[in-house]
Subunit: 454 residues, 3 copies
């Protein structure tokens, strides 16, 4: 009887999904029409702007500083996150397809939300965009894709669109508070992206707790080739993470240093992940879950401090610790959280994003507090921490405190926002699947008529 | 009896394929030896050229403006097109393998053909090449790969080589007429690449019509993992399309703006594709065919106008419309064309390339005709539309007419060329498969001895 | 009885693998702490350095010259090599996973080893690193990944770590001798990377010869989709090889020319590979092994000469020959070497790396010897061959001799080093699999509980 009450959920999204897509996309067009224009570097007036500002060459256009990194970040968002989640044996279409959908929507909404806070030209009330805005929009989307990892397989595409709409909105506010009001630095988004996105997703998952999820346990594993598809995601995330952490840092040494630090932290993480994975399994066999996920934790944890003088060995140490903690998280914490805390975290985002994000925030705070003119040089210190304008009297120790404050804001926004949005997503109107129908592409994708299903 | 006459086709290409490859490659070597040299930016005399022309730094070498975009385009050609076509359950080797073969041949022939028209140094009769030529060669190849999509699974590799030889030749002539004689602008190739390639492939498919193709209907579907492989192609095309449309636009704002416009158009397309796919299926389920293909239509349709002041909202509108039209095309037009027009379009290139290409040409004509000094700035207008030299008296409205003329040329070359080449491909000497042997790797690939064939 | 003695090998690496990972990673941290710092372009003092050296813009930071190429190389190392080896039906986890592990370790050790030889700042005894060091570390790792190809499926991860430790060490010494002492040029590493790595792997494989390897013959084939995964590796290697060969060449024309030459050589190789593959198979069918591997031989063989004035047709000729030779190698040489020379070369690295590497070395020697001021220009000749400092009296013909000497050194280090390391790897302590357990992920990966193993 309980099961019968449970089962007849309506997963037909034939009206709701098209309605949401068409209406929201139309809203985007209208808002873009009212608000968004090209900035001086992507507008045809660039040729005059160049002369007026004595810019000697087109190569000084920000496009050439950031476009290669932007494309790498773009790959991380769509192939990286998308394929990382294809590991489930029967939910690969949903993983890569819904990731595609919500990222494509989210980046438009992010251009508006972040634009209002950061790129509004007060002379004409327009948001002026260039390549840096595209990168930031991709970053903003990453927060929501992280959250998707926690609820993978248990929600409808309409719920994901709602999750994204609110997620982007919360992100933009949180980011504004952390970066502009608190003046914390967070180049690779350890706090702003990973901590926020992680706790946002975990809180939603907690709100959407399904006590009878074991009814779909037959679908919760992977198959050999779905694990290989997931490795495509893992590797593109891993390889391009140096671009992620350096994409919006300062021109010159800022981008250069952030890339080096991230490259090193990630290399170190791979070794400790393998070590712990082997050590804690019977017979010393490696677990693909760890290799797919924990190897990335170092990139998350070095996000804030990547642009600082963390030093190459500092990056290795951060990666070293995160590989261990993240893998242990998969072994002990995820089952614990599911059993005792009612948090069902499909992809283990706590171990890959939330916890390493917090570590990254702490590392950033310590590194900032320990900064000195002897290491950074007088000008270097000002440049790196942006001790200019109203913050020109800032000192490193105080900056460390601001970094810590930023971390707290990210956690609060993640948890608070997740609970709020989780509440909305519990409304019985979104077409989410029944417990025995989770982790299955069948409710939302035409699979039967065209495939021998595995 | 009819079937018996039909069946004994000889698919053995053991002589013809090696002969074509070796002879044509030898011809390439000879022609390259006679005609092709490095240009001033890739020659060792660059160091002297730099001094003579007061170029202050190596960073001004065109390599640094265009190489990142070139590599993105290169990925689209080989991984993008190649994997997009792997969706068939038993024709994935042919999809990615023959794509590889004809692209590798085509780019060499394209360097020659385009070189004679565009990069011939009349002082010594040599074609001088640099990174921009490599990009254009890849573009030229794209036209033939699009055409391959229409005949996928129904032709032999030798036929594909012939299709490519003629396709590249026609492309180079058509491109010269459109860009140089008519002076139309077409940065992302909506007309030159997609319209031409689309109609070229459709016409060939019409000439090669197989009334009994349903004999291989058991092979015409996908399987779960072949659809995932195809998503690799989709996503790399989608992500790198901004590089495609901006790869050969003007340095500075031109590349910057083209990338932004394409990024936005593609995002918008995803949402309307999802909407229409869900709305027109029973139970609102999404169809992978649409997600794999129609999500890309916005990139095609924004190709011509990407470098213009299309405005961010303009890009969104173009993407919005194309997602809808392309998906409806897959639902209604493709079956209609197969049934009533005898056009069997395996990949639906009409919906992904031909139709969005035509839309792109029209959008380009309108945008060009509507251009004004108040929006572009005096210098910006001249720069963007290249109103210089013999075209210095050109005005936007007239340019709009020229754009429209260019579109007509592309359509004519596509249809005319396709009929001509289709006629040649009907000769019974090319080793094409029998009707019940289509969509199968077995005739051209060693598969049996090394794989459990799914 | 023989079999019973053979079988009870202990593949449990639960202690050895974690121990190696943790201890070596800790050693890396300590050594990095003592030795490695940022160089002037990645340090916060860059802003002051810029002023002191009259560098007009941040865009002159080497990061912007090399970072796009670096990321392409990075993709080749992790996705290219990793997925190229996934073709075996049951060893895909080991292919991509152990590739990941040893590359992540190797690049750290390479930064140290290469740093001591090339980037040591004698004023403070520190190695100063920037983006070029990252590229070189990836290059260094490539040598070991090539060697992995020969022993794929027959060794334990601990053995691979040992192979890498010694491989990187030998590489750094060999590279120093060839490039610095002998003053050979080797931009794309035909000699330094491919010849060395190839013979290193083949010698190890010879030392580890398994006479009863046919006991695992049931696992030695591919399946349909594993061949497709391997094509991902092939294509990313093929597409990004121009970046590989141009990543550390001279700014400006050097990078530009190296990319063009490699692009052309690879295109040519595809056609002759297809020709030979079809011609030498019954019924003219193509073999995926050739398409996956031999199509890359042209990139290897043009490695040394890519930065020279090889001329576009010269590149095509090199690619032409290598496609033929490499494919014939797979057809005739690999079986011959296994049967008569006791070299079991799982991936056929002899045909893809060792032989094309030697060809590349010879091509480089001839091209260098034939260089002249009339072709290169006076300054161009000096720049290209670096005839400066203690080598300012060098002439092209002599340089040709030095190139040949470099090739010999690479071969000797490869063979000698491989025999030495093979001897170490034969110790019965490394947890390698029994003969009937080769080419199987089961000994080292948790596969049974989570996958229907095909």
């Amino acid at each position: 009887m309980g099961e019968m009450c449970d089962r007849p959920k309506n997963t037909n999204v034939r009206l709701s999904l098209p309605a949401v897509c068409i209406v929201w996309q139309t809203a985007m067009i209208i808002l873009f029409g009212v608000f968004i224009r090209y900035n001086e570097e992507s507008d045809t007036h660039w040729v005059e702007y160049k002369k007026e500002n004595n810019i000697p060459s087109d190569i000084e256009n920000d496009f050439y500083f950031r476009y290669p990194s932007f494309q790498d970040v773009h790959v991380m968002i769509f192939v990286g996150f998308g394929f990382l989640m294809t590991f489930l044996k029967r939910y690969s279409f949903g993983a890569v397809g819904f990731n595609f959908l919500i990222a494509a929507f989210g980046l438009q909404w992010a251009l508006l939300m972040q634009g209002w806070f950061h790129s509004l030209d007060y002379t004409d009330g327009k948001i002026k965009i260039g390549v840096e805005n595209l990168i930031n929009a991709d970053f903003c989307v990453a927060g929501c894709l992280i959250a998707y990892g926690a609820v993978l397989g248990k929600v409808s595409p309409v719920q994901l669109m709602v999750l994204t709409l609110f997620g982007i909105t919360l992100f933009a506010v949180e980011e504004y508070i952390i970066l502009d009001l608190i003046h914390a630095r967070d180049a690779g988004g350890s706090m702003v992206i990973h901590t926020f996105g992680g706790y946002y997703g975990l809180s939603i998952s907690w709100m959407l707790y399904r006590p009878n999820l074991d009814q779909s346990s037959r679908l919760q594993g992977s198959v050999y080739h779905s694990d290989l598809f997931a490795m495509i995601g893992t590797l593109f995330l891993w390889m391009f993470w140096p671009s992620f952490n350096s994409a919006i840092t300062d021109h010159g040494d800022g981008q250069h240093r952030a890339a080096i630090n991230t490259y090193l932290a990630l290399a170190s993480t791979v070794l400790t992940t393998v070590a712990v994975s082997s050590l804690f399994q019977k017979h010393g066999k490696l677990d693909m879950v760890h290799i797919q996920n924990s190897t990335l934790a170092g990139g998350v944890a070095v996000g804030t401090a990547a642009e600082f003088m963390l030093m190459p060995y500092g990056s290795l140490i951060v990666g070293f610790c995160c590989g261990i903690l993240s893998t242990l998280g998969y072994i002990y914490l995820t089952p614990f959280m599911e059993k005792y805390m009612k948090i069902q975290d499909t992809c283990g985002i706590h171990n890959l994003h939330a916890m390493p994000g917090v570590i990254g925030g702490i590392v950033g705070a310590i590194t900032a507090a320990a900064a000195s003119e002897s290491v950074y040089g007088a000008e270097g210190l000002i440049n790196t921490f942006d001790f200019e304008g109203e913050f020109k009297n800032m000192v490193p120790t105080k900056q460390g405190g601001h970094q810590a404050a930023g971390l707290c804001v990210a956690i609060c926004f993640g948890i608070g926002g997740g609970i709020l949005v989780g509440f909305i997503l519990r409304l019985p109107i979104w077409g989410d699947p029944a417990d025995d129908n989770c982790f299955d592409d069948e409710p939302y994708w035409e699979v039967s008529h065209r495939s021998v299903h595995l």
